[in-house]
Symmetry: D2
Subunit: 104 residues, 4 copies
Amino acid sequence: MSVTTPASAVTPPGYSDTKDDQLKRLRRIEGQIRGIARMVENDAYCIDVLTQVSAATRALQAVSVNLLEEHIAHCVVDAARESDEAAAAKVGEVTAAVTRLLRS
Amino acid sequence: MSVTTPASAVTPPGYSDTKDDQLKRLRRIEGQIRGIARMVENDAYCIDVLTQVSAATRALQAVSVNLLEEHIAHCVVDAARESDEAAAAKVGEVTAAVTRLLRS
Amino acid sequence: MSVTTPASAVTPPGYSDTKDDQLKRLRRIEGQIRGIARMVENDAYCIDVLTQVSAATRALQAVSVNLLEEHIAHCVVDAARESDEAAAAKVGEVTAAVTRLLRS
Amino acid sequence: MSVTTPASAVTPPGYSDTKDDQLKRLRRIEGQIRGIARMVENDAYCIDVLTQVSAATRALQAVSVNLLEEHIAHCVVDAARESDEAAAAKVGEVTAAVTRLLRS
């Protein structure tokens, strides 16, 4: 997993205030995935497995929306106050992230 | 995680032939989620975290499409050969599963 | 818009029984799109336009789910009763269609 | 189609500079929907209709991403420069719009 922005080492990320919540959600999703693997091991019915995969996918999407919200609320807003160039760069980045989200 | 179909205990599920592949994919996704949690712990840049969440979401969607394919190839096809009623029940179930997938 | 299957000329499509419903839904979506264009012409607020675009997208997804249901209920079920080869071909086609749906 | 923001009457919307492009895209999508209705009228094969519905859905999502980009680039950036309260209101609105997009 590459880190494209050295800035991450110096500025706190947009999700700093909600970091514990994000980690809790991710641990829960990890548990959901393990639960799905157990269902597959136990030959659970396809549709029941699919229902749980959809639930985990939805939980991941919720993480994305949360991260995006914190990113806009902090990083984009800060960039807007810094300069037109900084704002434009962040807007381009957010748009690309939303496009990836919609395609996932 | 509720199992709605007692049938799962008796008939092998549609994904029987690809069970090991499904488990391998799920283990890999579990690792992706753990990697994302580590990124958040290390204050990685929001957009980099979002990129990895999108990748994990896409991997989960691939599991869904695979399970769905195996389900139609085996369970729906078998039901079609059994009776009109059995077929109709499976078609309704698959449609509901696709709807959940599209909403996730 | 290419038609890949000459069969469409001879066998009625899976949605034959619900053709009028499908057409009604499509006319309604066409009206929604025209309404969105009017909003843009009148400089409506971005978020209000986005809300209507999401509604139209959801309506299109509903058309897809309906077509898919009819297709599985008729074309896939018929193919299952015809032969293993016919079934396998239809299952592959349906899976590809669901993948396109999830990516859209 | 309700307009929730009286502001739309006074301030130009975020998409002002790309209004003609947005309208062109919407006209093209309207044509796609009409083409799909024609396919259904002519009993085109289900999978071919589904392929075109997915294409139209993707085109609508592209309109959404564009509107969202313009909205962030203009309305959110302007709000960020105005005040913390104005910024917070816009961020909440954008997040809700992205959630609707992901659910559509």
